[in-house]
């Protein structure tokens, strides 16, 4: 595996793909992969951006349209597209590529990299390993890494742990004005894109969101309308996203999610994790004892 790393750094896509698998499978550490390199801290403001929002609002098609705009302008952009693993079998159907055309477009495909990722054992809409995978893509010469999360709802904030910027994608008819008032993911958004603007209700929903943001005292994130399907608003959104500043509202939440996520990762990687799960299923162990065993072994 280690012989793949220099090839990957030279831009060999097969080697890049294999190192990413190594990171994901834990056969290679992020320290080994990066070997002290850091991504070029260029003039641009962000390196990683999470695209999140409810299932079916059009995240994949929108991401594809945005990547097409950026790559056409010469920016190297990678996408880590996350889909859920089955909680029963651990398997996954990773279907985001079905909606991707940028990666097949001969004019720009050298500048676009798409990788499908399953959540595996982690909870939440993004496994934390994505942070390491993004860091590796950045040292391999990709300028921007997008992270498309699992379709997620109001309280799913894990994406804050892995990305410099958070884009929340909304759709039309996503409930009345009170939905926009509820606390959660929207509060962390650095920008909101209301997609499917060609459908009824999109403009009204965008208006409700703006009104809701206006009620608070903090600086409101911009709310833009897009129709990824018809292409309207996409160039404007791509421009706004490229220069997007952090709202700064998410710092504490970001740190909390990082801490929670890393703690969870340590738990999942615990050597007795699966044995403890089995014992819980068989009823030979209760939760308190399981927790105590994890703590004991951590102390040793």
């Amino acid at each position: 595996m280690s012989e793949e790393i220099p090839l990957a750094l030279n831009g060999d896509r097969r080697a890049i793909a294999r190192v990413l698998s190594g990171l994901e499978n834990g056969t290679i550490t992020v320290e080994q992969a990066l070997a002290g390199r850091q991504s070029d801290p260029s003039s641009t403001s962000w390196s990683t951006m999470a695209i999140t929002g409810a299932p079916g609002v059009g995240k994949s098609v929108l991401v594809d349209a945005l990547m097409t705009v950026w790559a056409t302008n010469g920016t190297k952009v990678a996408l880590l597209a996350v889909d859920p693993s089955s909680p029963r079998t651990g398997g996954a159907l990773l279907g985001d590529r079905v909606r991707m055309s940028s990666v097949d477009n001969p004019a720009i495909k050298e500048l676009v990299y798409v990788r499908s990722i399953a959540t595996r054992s982690s909870s939440g809409s993004v496994p934390l390993i994505v942070e390491d995978m993004a860091a590796f893509l950045l040292v391999c010469g990709w300028e921007k890494v997008l992270i498309e999360t699992v379709g997620s709802g109001q309280a799913e904030l894990r994406c804050a742990a892995v990305a410099d910027r958070i884009v929340v994608v909304e759709g039309p008819a996503r409930g009345d004005g009170i939905q926009a008032e509820k606390a959660g993911l929207l509060e962390l958004a650095d920008i909101v894109l209301v997609n499917k603007a060609d459908l009824d209700g999109a403009e009204r929903h965008a208006g409700e969101l703006k009104e809701s943001f206006g009620l608070g005292e903090q600086q409101a994130p911009e709310v833009l309308l897009t129709s990824a399907l018809h292409g309207s608003g996409v160039v404007e959104a791509a421009q706004a996203l490229m220069g997007l500043e952090s709202s700064g509202r998410a710092l504490r939440a970001r740190m909390r999610e990082r801490l929670l996520g890393q703690h969870e990762r340590r738990l999942i990687q615990h050597p007795s994790y699966n044995a403890l799960l089995d014992a819980l299923c068989e009823g030979t162990l209760d939760i308190r004892t399981a927790l105590a065993r994890i703590d004991d072994e951590a102390d040793e």
């Binding site: 097969r14 089955s86 079998t89 651990g90 398997g91 996954a92 990773l94 079905v98 909606r99 399953a118």
Partner: protein, 148 residues
């Protein structure tokens, strides 16, 4: 197999029917694998680039259009050109028995016809994985003898 296998399921060529491919994708998912589905009407080149970028261990090709004798070997050729010799390729769909030996000769390790139990495909995956040299460009003449 500690980690799930990454398997690309692809529909090459002009062929608009993917129920079979979806049934196979579901069976593989339910067996605990990570299945990357390409969607319809992909070129051989697009499929190979997907396998490369997704670092897939297996590639399943589905064809109902009758173009398998042209498209499947083309995919295998592009895989070798991309240095992806160790990817294990299998096929399925409407593929007459008399066409199959030519596909085995270009390195396709199994061809499954309609009526194949999905459990047989899983058995093939396990056996091909265990062999360690069943990739499309690897040195073996082994292939699975399918029941349908």
């Amino acid at each position: 197999m500690d980690q799930p296998l990454r398997i690309v399921v692809a529909k090459p060529g002009l062929d608009g029917h993917d129920r079979g491919a979806k049934v196979v994708a579901r069976a593989l998912r339910d067996a605990g694998h990570e299945v990357i589905y390409t969607g319809l009407r992909r070129t051989a080149q697009q499929i190979v680039e997907t396998v490369r970028d997704e670092d897939a261990r297996f590639l399943g090709l589905s064809s109902l259009s009758g173009a398998h004798a042209h498209l499947f070997p083309q995919v295998c050729k592009h895989l070798l050109e991309a240095g992806l010799n160790d990817v294990i390729v299998f096929g399925g769909g409407i593929i007459p028995h008399e066409d199959r030996s030519a596909l085995h000769e270009v390195g396709i390790r199994a061809v499954f016809g309609p009526g194949t139990p999905t459990s047989e495909i899983l058995d093939f995956i396990q056996q091909a994985f265990d062999k360690g040299n069943a990739g499309v460009g690897q040195d073996t003449t082994w292939h699975w003898t399918s029941s349908a």
